[in-house]
Amino acid sequence: MLKLFEKETLSLDKLSDEQTALDVRDLSVWLNNSRVLNNINMRIPKNKITAMIGQSGCGKSTLLSSFNRMNELNQNYAYSGEVHMDGRNIYNKKENVAKLRTQVGMVFQRPNPFPMSIYENVCFGLRIQGKTERRSLDDIVERSLRNAALWDEVKDRLFDSALLLSGGQQQRLVIARALALKPDVLLLDEPTSALDPLTTLHIEELINQLKRTCTVVIVTHNMQQAARVSDYSAFLHQGELIEYSDSDSLFTMPEKKQTEDYITGRYG
């Protein structure tokens, strides 16, 4: 009962435009001439955590990458459909992709800090935006590192190489790096799969706090993690969106047989 009060679930069918962060319409994606996503329609609610689950190769990472158009870096790539954000189609030809990616941040499976100091890592996006004023950079670096729960550990060695940090610290640094740009949406692609359980717990706590400031979409293989962390969950199978609802109902009483088979470990 207590959990219900905390989470204040919205009905996914009746999301208003203000409550929607991303609106995916008839999205299909082809990579290397094979269809990876097939007619996906979903609305991702604002300031909530949405998890994508499904077995390897089901297209959840591709779907995640469609939200900031990272798929376009692949060589043989084609798509159809639309993704709307703030009332505009991000696949519009006039869309500034670089600017879009500052609004939709992304964190990858393996921590990928740049071979620079911790400070410069956090500043990387800001410097590209052309912000060079030292004081405001200092402020943003501190705020981002605090938000990523890393500040206390690194505040004395901001100018040491980021590569000296441990795996969990590196992953939080990468999150801080994305947060420095104040993104509206943060995409997390299996952010804890390369980390140990305790560090994973740290990151999960962090994700929980992040939804105060932005919408989080997370791809995970870990069912418990999805159940623990997310407000909403989507189950994908072979490029199709099988089931999408609030996590409590998806994990306790899934509507589709396939979903039930997957979350109970009968396949996948």
Binding site: L73, G105, N112, F114, F124, G125
Partner: protein, 516 residues
């Protein structure tokens, strides 16, 4: 039929491969050892022997050839061989008399190093001066100071008066002032006055001489002003020898070659090599890096790109003389010729850029080393982890920003390696350089105080070409060849240092960027 057990087969394999590696190591070490041994002979003061040839017989007969001072065992061989040849020619129809050679080590013989680079041997007799008085060797320092004072005075007259007066007269000539104009007469009188004073000084200086006797006891004298150094080579201690060698090494890298490149130093060649290589690196590094970035980051992954890649790799295998011929035909004749026609037409028909020179050499070498830079830069780009690119894109960087800020710093060890490999290659190349601008003796350095200070069109000296020339002209002359070995050693040292620095720089950059 021999049959081996499994264990034996393994032993044979490991022995065979180990043997090959050992042979390789021995070959490499003996090459370095030989070059260093031969090259260091140039710096080390050698012993001097007196050699006299007598008619053979039960007792020593009359000397048939004048005695001679020679420096080393190999010289003695060459010396006696030449006498045998001479005798053979002389007594072609008479009975062949084999000469007998007597070699003595004489303790108090002097070696006289001249400013011209020549080394003369003899027994010291006395010092003669202008007062017709004779001094022993103890007075050498005082006498030398006298000569130096006189020479200072002489150069003072030349610099302060004669040059200026000569210029004035030349300008009068140019303005066609008549022979008996008073200004001209005054200038001419001044000039004559100072010239006569200079002549007197010259005479005084030339009166200072050192008199020696040669191996046969005949006297000869040398001007004191021509003598650079005087010492007894057979009585040097180890310390003396070491300090002599050190001085010679300093002179070797700081002086010009003397005596038709058999003594003196190789400074112009060293300077030319370094300058050409720096110019080449400046041309090839950005060009090669950009080509590699295009091939790796922008070019679509299709057949054309792989064909281009294969062509680039094959370019590295083209014989270097072909590049030399191309440089001569295209850069020198075509490009240089057009530049002359466009910008230096007043100087034609004497060419300015339409002749082999420093810039064309650097350009040809840049072309020759381009494949090395492209291949190693691409290697460096390939090493950049994919995650870093996506990380950069995900933070809103465009492709250019990603390449500039993330990819290039990490690929920099690769670029560095390529450039320094190219530099090492260019430092040792000879064939193309002979065709496009390196000469065995250049009258002036490519950089001097004259506007525009760096003269791209000038011909220059190069260590590799210097070694080639030295080896070519000293195939039988062991004395002259020691300088060639010394230059070879220097070349080896330069290439070694460059390669070592490449490895150090690469490891440093790798430590900085690739610890992931």
């Amino acid at each position: 039929m021999l049959k081996f057990t499994h264990q034996q087969k393994q032993n044979i394999t490991s022995f065979g491969t180990g043997l090959s590696a050992a042979v390789l190591l021995i070959v490499l070490l003996s090459l370095v050892f030989f070059i260093v041994l031969k090259g260091s002979a140039y710096f080390w003061p050698s012993q001097v022997f007196k050699v006299t040839t007598y008619e053979s017989g039960a007792e020593l007969g009359k000397p048939v050839d004048i005695g001679r001072f020679v420096r080393s065992a190999s010289d003695i061989d060459v010396f006696s061989q030449s006498i045998v040849d001479k005798l053979d020619a002389q007594f072609a129809n008479a009975t062949l008399t084999m000469p007998q050679v007597v070699v003595e080590k004489v303790e108090d013989v002097y070696q006289i190093n001249m400013h011209s680079g020549a080394a003369i041997h003899g027994f010291f007799e006395y010092i003669s001066t202008n007062e017709n008085t004779y001094f022993s060797l103890d007075a050498l320092n005082d006498v030398q100071t006298d000569v130096e004072l006189l020479q200072e005075e002489l150069s003072g007259i030349q610099n302060n008066h004669l040059i200026q007066l000569h210029r004035n007269i030349a300008s009068l000539n140019q303005n066609q002032v008549s022979q008996d104009a008073p200004a001209r007469i005054k200038e001419q009188a001044d000039f004559d006055y100072w010239q006569s004073r200079a002549d007197i000084l010259n005479e005084k200086i030339n009166a200072y001489r050192l008199v020696f006797t040669d191996a046969m006891g005949q006297r000869f004298s040398l001007y004191l002003k021509d003598i650079e150094r005087l010492f007894k080579p057979n009585q040097l201690t180890w310390v003396d020898k070491l300090s002599y060698a050190a001085e010679k090494m300093v002179a070797f890298v700081s002086e010009s070659p003397k005596q038709a490149s058999t003594s003196g130093g190789v400074f112009p060649a060293l300077f030319g090599t370094v300058l050409m290589v720096i110019l080449m690196a400046i041309i090839v590094a950005p060009f090669g890096a950009m080509a590699a970035i295009y091939l790796h980051e922008y070019a679509p992954n299709n057949k054309t790109t792989s064909v281009i890649r294969i062509c680039v790799s094959n370019m590295a295998g083209v014989p270097s003389v072909v590049y030399g011929v191309f440089g001569l035909g295209f850069f020198v004749y075509t490009l240089g010729g057009s530049i002359d026609e466009l910008f230096y037409s007043s100087a034609l028909p004497s060419p300015t850029f339409g002749t082999p020179g420093l810039f064309w050499a650097a350009l040809t070498m840049a072309l020759l080393t381009l494949p090395v830079v492209i291949v190693s830069t691409e290697e460096g780009l390939r090493r950049v982890p994919k995650g870093l690119r996506s990380g950069s894109y995900a933070l809103g960087a465009t492709k250019i920003e990603t390449i500039w800020k993330t990819v290039l710093p990490i690929a920099s060890p690769g670029i560095m390696t390529g450039v320094i490999l190219a530099v090492a290659r260019a430092a040792g190349e000879v064939a193309p350089l002979i065709l496009v601008g390196a000469v065995k003796f250049a009258p002036s350095l490519p950089i001097d105080g004259e506007f525009p200070f760096i003269h791209f069109e000038r011909q220059f000296m190069h260590l590799g070409v210097f070694v080639y020339d030295g080896a070519f002209h000293n195939q039988t002359n062991t004395q002259g060849s020691s300088m060639m070995f010394a230059s070879c050693m220097l070349l080896l040292l330069i290439v070694f240092v460059l390669n070592l620095s490449a490895i150090i720089v690469r490891n440093k950059l790798r430590d900085r960027y690739l610890r992931i």
